[in-house]
Symmetry: C2
Subunit: 351 residues, 2 copies
């Protein structure tokens, strides 16, 4: 296969972890006879500095004409504590999601047997956890009208959803559930929000098309609890943009390391693959960031092209690195800590 | 002191747990020479059934003319899976909060030494946790304009905040921090939401009035993680209505039992005191629900009247019940489980 992959390293540790994913992907391509054409492009604070825009048109053109996007991380502390900043790296991310039509963020949460004790949660609570969140990514309060009134004294954000938006996300959820544990949980706040009532009624109406899927409806506050109490009771969870932002980050704690969790954002066409962690500014340039989440995001990318064996080769390499202790300091637990690029080298050699 | 207390038992296990709080409060009143005039009133599904309204005017008059409100629980499953229900018990709760001006929901999360091992989190992660959430309760997306357009195909919920709303909540937060660990965390999503940027800039502007308080700003998704990773790193957290709903429920898991966590909702005048747990419909009438959260809510009520010794008498009784194993089945751990009313009896005898 010949693959054109847009490569958006972004901010902070983004470039370092992306480098490792490139190495590993190239090793996979070599082994399985594919050709990858990497197409680097600017995004985030790096793009603001270079061209004044976090997601420049040029970057969009590169993404839109590629088969997939591999993404590092976005965000820089100099923007976070300045509520009046006009341009923010995050706007680039949101613009990209919207313009590429990436309406479904897929975030698996699973445990690694060798890392069960790294979790802040007790072993018996998390053993066997294997859940996936499908977070709606191009609607809701992120994209509704927002602004100020009364000379800046009043602020507003509008949350809007259409039935069609809910349907296309829910459809992916039902389909995913059919390939897995056949359980679907719709997370909403239907006792308070009208958008949530639209979500719930839309999903209810779709139930009959998937008679094998057992559907439940839970309030977001209840899920925020149950997720840390009994994570292994869930299979597929679907939810709106903001709830998904909060709950997927919460869920990432289960596995014991954010540095291991990949994600995919899918739409009609081009998929975007990225680690769930942020740009970790304090670690920038230190060669200490864990590249595995980005490497596993590349695995999701191959799998999304239907290249299951290629994905598995990456997952197997990661598992054996974990078992052999070829890990960065976040997982070293007093043992030897390898550098970001050393882990990447080891993984690519072991494909 | 002569106290008029509106008594809103509500739905599900509400009446059972409220009965125990009344017993215990009466014992406290007797011991410390106060007089409590309990004024029962209807709310929730019970009120819908009786008068077609979850927070009838008559109930409001009773609350508004009392010194405080003691509240059980609200909610009934028959409304939850019917997105088209016209009247819902929860509307009663929201109307009550708004009409009584209860803009600050105070939710402490602490651990009980004897129960540390009940938590799904590891002991070393939670030991020493003693944090308080101040959740804004009468604004935001709960109360903004909501509805449908396009013949029901589009739903919307508006989130609105004014600077004055943020200020009065933040003021309570700073003041509370001054009486405790002097740390304040403002939880928002200022990288995406305009209302969050208003929150952040308002709190930033207030910092100089409280030079001793160390203020931090964290995104809601990051807090959803850190809360289960390092809960004992927090002291006072302030946040908007919906984030507070999700995070306070998540935090309640830390202590290992929802059945122990009280809360207060404060405004200008009358306070409302209630357990954080729901109406637990499956347990209704079985005399198995844990009354301690409601009993501890009564302790918060006394303390809010400035009656610290009275509050402490209740807390001491609860602690010794926990130490002696006078507990309901949720805490019995294979040992003897006492009934709801037996626990209430024991507590009131041990005041
Ligand atoms: C950086 C931010 C805008 C983003 C979001 O809220 O979607 C991030 O938290 C995420 O989850 O990808
Ligand atoms: C019942 C519901 C409307 C309510 C809320 O969301 O505020 C509850 O979850 C709470 O936290 O008190």
């Amino acid at each position: 296969m010949k693959l054109n992959i847009a490569l958006l390293a972004g901010d902070g540790i983004g470039p370092e972890v992306i480098d490792q994913a490139v190495k590993v992907s190239d090793a996979v391509a070599k082994k399985f006879n594919h050709e990858i054409n990497w197409r680097p492009a600017l995004t985030g604070a790096a793009a603001i500095d270079a061209v004044g825009e976090p997601y420049p048109d040029e970057t969009h053109e590169i993404c839109a004409s590629s088969d997939a996007v591999l993404f590092g991380a976005i965000g820089h502390p100099r923007f976070d504590n300045d509520p009046s900043a006009k341009v923010r790296p995050e706007q680039g991310l949101l613009k990209m999601r919207k313009k590429l039509g990436l309406f479904a963020n897929v975030r698996p949460t699973f445990t690694f047997p060798s890392l069960l004790d790294k979790s802040p949660l007790k072993r018996e609570r998390i053993e066997g956890t294997d859940l996936v969140f499908l977070r709606e990514l191009t609607g809701g309060i992120y994209f509704g009208e927002k602004g100020r009134r009364d000379e800046g004294e009043t602020a507003f954000d509008n949350c809007v959803y259409t039935r069609a938006e809910v349907q296309r996300l829910a459809k992916k959820g039902f389909e995913l559930a059919m390939t897995r544990g056949k359980k679907l949980c719709c997370v909403d706040k239907a006792n308070v929000l009208e958008t949530s009532r639209l979500w719930r009624e839309t999903v209810q109406a779709m139930e009959k098309e998937y008679p094998e899927v057992e559907v439940s409806y839970e309030f977001v506050d209840a899920v925020a609890m149950r997720l840390v109490q009994w994570p292994n009771s869930y299979d597929v969870l679907i939810t709106e943009n903001l709830f998904g932002d909060i709950l997927t980050d919460e869920a990432s704690v289960i596995s014991g390391s954010m540095g291991l969790m990949p994600s995919a954002s899918l739409g009609s066409n081009i998929g975007l693959f990225e680690p769930i962690h942020g740009s970790y500014p304090q670690a920038t340039g230190l060669n200490i960031a864990n590249p595995m989440a980005t490497v596993l995001s590349a695995a999701m990318m191959f799998e999304n092209f239907g290249l299951q064996k290629e994905g598995k080769a990456i997952r197997d390499a990661v598992n054996s690195a974990l078992n052999k202790g070829i890990v960065t300091e976040d997982l070293a637990d007093g043992g030897k800590a390898f550098g970001t690029s050393e882990v990447g080298d080891w993984l690519s050699k072991n494909i």
